[in-house]
Symmetry: C2
Subunit: 218 residues, 2 copies
C-alpha cells in the first residue's frame, strides 16, 4: 500500500509517519519509484504499536526506538527480548537534578527495603532478572508510601501478586502462540502497556465508587 493508505489504516498522519521513518521507529517501505514506496501489514501493526507506546505508555521517541530495537534483535530468545523490553519500559523518563529521594525519618535506607522486595519475590517463586527496574521501582514506591504513613510492606501486595500471576500466564501464553517471534514480543509489549493502563482505570473507577458509597454511609 502507499503511504496515504498506511496513514488512513493506522490513523497516523503522513507527516508523523515520515518523522517515525527518519527516527528509525518504522522500517522503510519497498521503493517502487523515485518518490514512492510500498508498505505492508507489518507497517500498520508497527505504527499502532508505536502510537500505543507513545500515547498510552507515555514513552519518549528515543525510548520507543530503544524498546523496538530490543523487539527486533533476533539474536535473543523471546524471553530475552521481553526482559530487554521490560528494562526499557522501566527506565525513568527523565531525572530531576533538583530532587534527591530522602530516607524516611527512621533512617531506613532504600537498600533495606530493596532486600525486602527481593526476598518477597523469591518467596513468590518468581524468577526476576537481577537488574529488573520494576523491583527497584516497587521499592521506591513502598518507601514513598511509608513517608506518607501508609503501613505498607511487600507482603501488602500478596493478593495482587497472586491475581497478577494467573492472568500473566494466560497473557504470555497467548502472546507466545503468535506465528513469529516479532509478533509474540510485540503482543507481550502491547499487553503490558495497554492492559496495565486499563487496570489502572478500573482501579480509579473502583476508588470513585468506594468514595461515593462512603460519603453516603459514613
Amino acid at each position: 500500500m502507499r503511504i496515504s493508505e498506511l496513514s488512513a489504516r493506522s490513523g497516523v498522519s503522513v507527516a508523523s509517519i515520515k518523522y517515525y521513518l527518519r527516527e528509525g521507529l518504522l522500517e522503510a517501505g519497498v521503493r517502487t519509484a523515485a518518490n514512492q514506496a510500498s508498505y505492508g501489514e507489518h507497517h500498520v501493526r508497527r505504527l499502532r504499536l508505536v502510537r500505543s507506546l507513545l500515547d498510552i505508555g507515555g514513552l519518549s521517541i528515543a525510548h520507543v526506538a530503544a524498546t523496538l530495537a530490543a523487539v527486533d534483535d533476533d539474536t535473543t530468545s523471546t524471553h530475552g527480548a521481553f526482559e530487554a523490553v521490560m528494562r526499557g519500559l522501566g527506565e525513568p523518563a527523565d531525572s530531576d537534578p533538583g530532587y534527591s529521594n530522602p530516607g524516611d525519618s527512621d533512617g531506613e535506607t532504600a537498600g533495606d527495603a530493596y532486600t525486602e522486595v527481593r526476598e518477597w519475590l523469591a518467596d513468590l517463586g518468581w524468577h526476576i532478572s537481577p537488574n529488573a527496574p520494576a523491583a527497584r521501582r516497587l521499592t521506591e514506591l513502598i518507601l514513598t508510601l511509608r513517608r506518607f504513613d501508609f503501613p505498607v510492606t511487600p507482603g501488602s501486595f500478596d493478593t495482587a501478586a497472586r491475581a497478577a500471576e494467573s492472568t500473566a500466564f494466560a497473557e504470555v501464553a497467548y502472546a507466545r502462540a503468535m506465528p513469529d517471534r516479532t509478533a509474540a514480543v510485540e503482543t507481550m509489549l502491547v499487553g503490558t502497556v495497554v492492559i496495565e493502563q486499563a487496570l489502572v482505570e478500573v482501579r480509579r473507577l473502583a476508588l470513585e465508587a468506594a468514595s461515593a458509597r462512603l460519603e453516603e454511609e459514613p
Copy 2:
C-alpha cells in the same frame, strides 16, 4: 522551620521550592523578616505530594496546580474533591494533532464501546460520575486492545474489578479517617497515584516471571 530545613526534610532543592511557591503549588510561609519565611509540617507534606504527582503520576506543573486547587477547595465535600481530583488526573497530558483514533475494521464506534463500559459499571453497582475520564479512557484502551486482536470486553475485567473494589473500600476508609478534610483528600490522591503505580510494577514482575517460566517449559 526555614526554607533550608524544609529542603532537607522534603528532599526538594531550595530552587525547586521557590519555583513551586511562584507557581502556586505551595502556600507561602509565614514571613519572619524582610527576606525570610517560616514553614510548617503541612509544607513538608505538600512538597512530598507535589513530587509524587510530578514523578510518579507524571503530571505537568499546570496539571498539579489544578489538581491541588481541587484538594484545597473547601466548598466541596470530601467525595466532591476526590471526584474533581480524579477528573484532573484523567485529563490527557497533551493531545497530538497528527493522530486520530481510527475505528476498527468492523466499523465499531467508540460510542458503542462506551455504552458497553457504562452498562458494565452499572452492573457492578458502581456509582460513577457521568463525566469521569476513567470510563472514557477504559473504553479507548479496550478499543486499542481489539485493534491488536485481543479478545477483550469490559467483562474481561470482572475479576480485577471485584479485587479493586475490596481494596478501594479499605483505602478510602483509611483516608477518610484522617483528622481533616485536606489530609483525607491528599491521602486519597497519594494512594491513587502511588499504589496504582506499585500495582503496575507488581504486574510487570508477574509478566517477567511468567515469561521466564514459559521459556523453560514451553
